[in-house]
Symmetry: C2
């Protein structure tokens, strides 16, 4: 076990805020990212919390991301809007567009936003949980750098392409799906390679294009989608929705223009908000609770997001990986 240091959520927030401001983010941009990082640590979703801070700083230092960006929101119709993030980190774009998206979805029953020129480096659940807190269903996806080969192929064209879905449960934690369509995150494969662990067959291919359980070989080769041809089809859907649908790049196009600084590449995000009140009326919430009760009676069945929501209830300090904390503190002036 790596050494850890206990830190309160307030201290985590203050640290991220200070680090980002030290590297050129203004108060609004730094606060948006710090909130997203702190929500991840609160939920013990470590791969999207403090772990991302060095990457955020790299993107600020290279100038790829603008720490003083003011994203611009324009309504194309009463139910569709475009958000030019102007090279902000995604949480700043969400601060700009989610209130208007929520209002439009509550009025028209559904609404969508195309986010362009954005840099997404977090989980998807923060933005769709914001929608579910407003009683809305949220659907979102982003694409990323091309590390994943399509089913049947050996050359990468898809990003790890996560998909998010949140279903509101008034007075309860929402049901939240947030899943990569890759079999495994490349970061996890790299950690397995470093530690000498095998990964399940089907995770990826060696540089020679062969199935292998050797993580080091996959780290030099390509990942595969989860679930064979079906997962591959979903990865393709996400390429389309987070790319041309929203006026942004496919994963391969993102890579071609990225400066390789290690921070998040510029890309698009598709977000849809829908009101079950408008789609169906008032029965959906009680009907959902009856389903959840029945689902909960099945031994071994877990609701997506439940583990994170349980972690959230602990208001106490979080155990932060000490070397990571030292790396982040070294970024302070």
């Amino acid at each position: 076990m790596a050494p850890t240091t206990d830190l309160s959520l307030e201290d985590i927030h203050a640290l991220v805020l200070a680090v980002l401001q030290a590297h050129g983010a203004d108060a609004a941009n730094a606060a948006a990212v710090a909130e997203t990082v702190t929500r991840a640590e609160r939920d013990r979703a470590l791969s999207h919390g403090l772990f991302r801070v060095p990457g955020y700083v790299k993107a600020l230092k290279s100038g790829k991301v603008k720490g003083d960006a003011r994203p611009e929101l324009n309504a194309t119709t009463p139910a569709v809007m475009r958000c030019d993030a102007r090279n902000a980190f995604a949480p700043m774009a969400h601060k700009t567009c989610l209130p208007a998206l929520i209002e439009a979805a509550q009025t028209f029953g559904l609404a969508g936003v195309s986010i362009q020129r954005c840099h997404h480096f977090a989980a998807l659940w923060p933005e769709i949980e914001t929608l579910s807190e407003a009683g809305l269903v949220g659907i979102t996806c982003v694409s990323y750098l091309p590390w994943v080969a399509p089913h049947g192929g050996r050359a990468p064209i898809f990003g790890t392409n996560p998909f998010g879905f949140a279903w509101p449960r008034p007075g309860q934690d929402p049901i939240v799906i947030d899943m990569a369509t890759a079999s495994m995150a490349m970061g996890e494969v790299q950690i397995a390679a470093r530690e000498g662990h095998a990964v399940p067959l089907g995770t990826g291919l060696s540089p020679e294009g062969e199935l292998t359980t050797d993580a080091a070989e996959i780290a030099k080769g390509v990942l595969l989608p989860f679930g064979g041809h079906k997962g591959s089809a979903l990865a393709l859907m996400i390429e389309l929705l987070a790319g041309p649908m929203v006026g942004e790049a496919f994963s391969y196009e993102s890579k071609e223009r990225d400066n390789g600084d290690g921070g998040p590449a510029q890309g698009g995000q598709f977000i849809l908000a829908m009101s079950p009140d408008v789609f169906s009326g008032t029965e959906w919430a009680a009907q959902t609770e009856r389903f959840v009760d029945r689902y909960g009676d099945i031994d071994g069945a877990r609701l997506p997001g439940a583990k994170r929501h349980a972690a959230r209830r602990d208001p106490g300090p979080r155990s932060v990986n000490t070397p990571l904390l030292e790396e982040i503190r070294a970024l302070l002036p």
Copy 2:
């Protein structure tokens, strides 16, 4: 190989029309279903073509489905509508709602319809390809009788819960995903059981809840979702979207009220139409073609729907399973 009989697409259409009308469907309802069946045979999508006709007839004979239904469409907002199918087969509901859905999506950029009291017994691609022909992205799902256990569990709660997505390509065949979130259709498992074939580990569980490759054991037990916990999460999403989202039943509720006649159970359908022109502008179509070219350069990569679209180009007769054809002809007066 089973014996086959060659039949033109016109003859297939006329046969289905006559059989349905002989069992109480009026001209409009029979024509809607006959068109859907004929499109499936045209695309050599045999599991959703003539194979379904005996089941359509069973539902008419039991009175569960109304052969003279006139589905009712009401706009809740300019972009959301509810379609009470009044116990029609799904193709009749689509005839009623798709033109209005297309118009709303072209005007507002996106639109949704909640279909209620409907009986869906076909593939999902016919309705979403109709959307893509209008330059729209289509997303849809239905749930079905509970045959699938959630990942980690042993008791069924999900239907085979298919998901459909179509991406328009002006002047070209659309990209069309139409996939069950179950690892395999129960019909395929039953055929494997009958023929003594093994199925892949992970397809389902025996009545004792154990993983097995024995199709006969799975046919007595439960199916599993494709792709482990991720596919299971998507099956759950579809339960929510095709159930409470649209004011209809979860799979387990559908089963509780179904009369077991072997025809399609009453359930809901969620359909979303979105305009990439409104979401992003005019570049998406050319950008998609550049992606498709690059994708096509990857050996072994296949575009979802391409096999069906290739089959479609053959205007000649289709080889129909002779015993099935005799069974259907016996349904004529």
